[in-house]
Amino acid sequence: MTLVGTDVRRSEDRPLLTGRASFVGDLRREGQLWGRVVRSHSAHGVLNGIDVAAARASPGVVEVITAADVPDARIPIRLPFAETPQSTLALQPLLARDRVRFVGEAVAVVVAEDPYLAEDAAELVVLDVHELEPVADTRAAAAAATLHEELGVNVVNTFALAYGDTAAAFAAADVVVRETLRMPRDAGTPLETRGVLAEVDDTGRLVVWGAAKVKHFNRDVLARLLDLPPERILLVEGHVGGGFGVRGEFYPEDFLIPFLAVRLGRPVKWIEDRREHFVAANHSREQEHELELAVAADGRLLALRDRFSVDLGAYVRTQGVLLPLITLQQLVGPYAWDAFELEGSAVLTNKTPAGTFRAPGVTEATFVRERMVDRAAAELGLDPVELRRRNLIPAGSMPFRFDVGEHAPPIVYDGGDFPAVFAALLERAGYEALREDQRRAAADGRRVGVGVSAFTEMGGIGPWEHARIVPLADGRFCVQCGIASLGQGVQTVLAQIAGDQLGVPFDAIEIDHTDTDTVPMGFGAFASRSTVLAGNAIALAAQDLRERAGPGALDAARLAAEGVVGEGRFEKEAPSFSFGANLSVVELDPDTGAVRVLKHVVAFDVGRTVNPTLLRGQLAGGAAQGIAAALWEELPYDEGAQPLATSFVEYLLPTVVDLPPIDVVVLEFPSAGNPLGLKGGGEAGVAGAPAAVANAVAEALGEAGARVVELPLAPARVRALLGD
């Protein structure tokens, strides 16, 4: 009986459910001080001075630092392929030095005996700012005041991807649809805000708690900034309350708090409050697309043109200019276009810097493309489901590739059966019956809409992962690997894989990923890579261990005594693509504009399922985030680039009361890109959800549906679209 493919209960849950988990907020070190970050209220200005005298004199205050006290360094980009010469001219400083560029930017840190006193003192820090014209959106950015003098412009880079003869395709088209579509600024919003606790221990080692996601990179960056050898720094990961892309990317506080611990010779703790989180932790998603779609009278999708901009906020963060790059890769989706011409820019504005948020690029790309596909269907008088059936790349055409010229790698769909997954979606949804229900509802005067979406999602990004398997004297096996847990159950999944590979029970496996000592090198948890990369590295390590151990069942105690260890490194050059689709049924209240989702189904090809329950949880949770993006979430800024949503009063997250049960259909067409056949599953739930909900709302709106071009579809907006 294998573990992979079965519903093994999560090993992580006991401490979480019994209140014995240790999140960074639970940790307490003797003699610890509390840090409070002072943040800019100005969106754009010259920072002439910071007066900290009153703060220093405030009760319980031990230290106040500003840019003058820290190195004049910038936070580097983590992904080499997302770094350009221009991007390095707009990196984020550790504390604002002579300019402030977004509301929420860190300008000073107050350290005091308790967090209340620290906050009291922080209010006394006075900034002398000469206000500059703020750049509030990407449309204004090109012509407006430049944010970074060295860069000289606010458009960091523009990337293009082209295939075939687009001009000819548009000329020959029977119908061309044109539209400008926008996705608003959203944020991953994990339930646990960020936090860092740092202490120099008795051996002189700097220990930092609160790490997550990309510990190794962060440790190396911290070492460079503090001018310490990396081995003198230990980053420890405890329990983590969600990441979604936000947590773990090196932020100023990841330097400032350890720096203060070293400077003061005492432990320093910082726990971000929710207000801070809304302005200081990465935002995402904000994109504007000008699209044109060419289609033939028989419904064949011919060509796609898109010019889009990604709002990066005030600085290029650790993910560099990744966002326009991965959006470009996922715009074409699961259709066999004759041609396409795509161009995307990374643009700076005076807003919170942007990073990746679960299913980055693909969510935005799917929303805009699938709305256009529905618009094309409407123009042709075709059922949107039928239009997709006619255009999904068939299984017989796999592997399918778009050669996009010399300057970019080809887009290759290495396998899968898109039409089969789409059909499975419709079958689970009971599509025919849904249309019947819809007809009956319409006869009753109810406004019900059905919407679908289809997408290809890039995942399993390399370049590699390392794993080591260490047999223990007690008969168990310790598996060490460089990924990270963000609460998504990765320990359980990897233990299942390890158990099967070693031929031992689930309980004989211990997964150790928690600190940089035991696991020297790794790339972290992002881009749905944990299961794919680490899982395959573990398989190789297991193979290595078996070879060293000789024939027969593995005897951990004997191997431990002999010091035998298995090592494996899995390399992955190109990403894999998997396919998914969503179906959503909504009902509109024509009086209030309120949208209620009656039903939502997610279908996804995962390659090979490791833990069905965990996977379903990932897909359903992702779909919930996608529905939230469609109907509620938005981080608006006013013309002065002042943020308007800085608490949960303004930023609306739905609860279980507001959402329908989410149905999940999983199919398995093993990936040819790795020996275990795995594709990632952590993000796919989000990718197609906003598009399906938006398409459903558009259908329910009837003719006015063509004007569904931006999110969220909040009641007031829907009501306005309904007109009188």
């Binding site: 409050d273 504009g593 608006p636 739905p654 507001d658 007031a716």
Partner: protein, 277 residues
């Protein structure tokens, strides 16, 4: 989001509370359920120098019906109000209480807290205005009653003077009165974008609206139409209420949208009040 410094004292009685409030001076505030005050403290939106905790004062949680009047003590929790199952005359009260936040908030939040906080979108002030509530205010000099129409002066501003404590409210409705409450919020438990309380009986008509201005407001033209036309005139009454009121708008809900909500909610509340009449 830690509160600014404050001194704290707990009162065992109304008299003690009044003493402590006086001692604390102008910037002393009463704390009951804390469901509005504690978040405001955390956001540092208010900075009282003294908090006088009245949450355990006895004798302020009574619910008493007496003919055409219903008296509620200051510390009646929203959860208690929400569980009441009165006849149609007082139905608007539990209906409104059920809309306040979530269970956890309702278990602690109090009637006086809601009325004294005077959020322009809050539910209970709207009902208080519709049902001609008489609010009982205690001061060291003695007690006075303030009609709801004179109590709500502006956003988060009431007729309570520093040192005074709201100790109860008495609501009125005629014997044949039928009341209802309707609200629209973006998610379950959210603050209302707009809310409406209606009352109708022989020669008695009340339409009170929240979320459209600085305080809850009545719609006199619509009330007159309602008194004259009854059930037949629901649509016209709703349209009139939406038209006659001063309605503000903001980024999430503009004026036009709010007027539409007033119309929809008035119609729904009236339909409910008159159901099986």
């Amino acid at each position: 989001m830690k509160p600014p410094p404050f001194a704290y004292a707990r009162a065992e009685s109304v008299e003690e509370a009044l003493e402590l409030l006086a001692e604390g001076g102008e910037d002393a505030k009463a704390l009951a359920g804390g469901q509005s005050l504690v978040p405001a403290l955390s956001f540092r939106l208010v900075r009282p120098t003294h908090l006088v905790d009245v949450d355990r004062v006895r004798g302020l949680d009574g619910v008493g019906a007496d003919g055409d009047r219903l008296t509620l003590g200051a510390l009646v929790r929203h959860a208690t109000l929400a569980r009441l199952q009165p006849d149609i005359r007082w139905r608007a009260l539990p209906a409104a209480a059920r809309e306040i936040g979530h269970d956890a908030i309702r278990v602690r939040g109090t009637l006086a807290g809601s009325l004294a906080h005077a959020d322009p979108a809050a539910e209970l002030p709207v009902v208080a205005l519709a049902l001609d509530a008489e609010l009982v205010v205690a001061a060291r000099e003695g007690r006075r009653t303030v009609p709801a129409a004179d109590f709500f002066l502006g956003p988060f501003t009431t007729a309570l003077a520093p040192g005074e404590l709201l100790v109860g409210a008495t609501f009125s409705a005629p014997a044949d009165g039928r009341t209802a409450f309707a609200e629209f919020a973006p998610r379950a438990g959210d603050f209302a974008v707009a809310c409406v309380c209606v009352g109708i009986g022989a020669g008695w008509a009340r339409i009170s609206v929240g979320g459209v201005g600085a305080t809850p407001v009545r719609a006199p033209e619509a009330e007159a139409l309602l008194a004259a036309g009854g059930a037949e005139a629901i649509d016209e009454v709703a349209t009139t209420a939406a038209r006659e009121l001063e309605v503000y708008g903001d980024r999430t809900a503009d004026e036009r949208y709010r007027r539409g909500l007033v119309r929809t909610l008035t119609r729904r509340a009236l339909a409910e009040a008159l159901e099986a009449a």
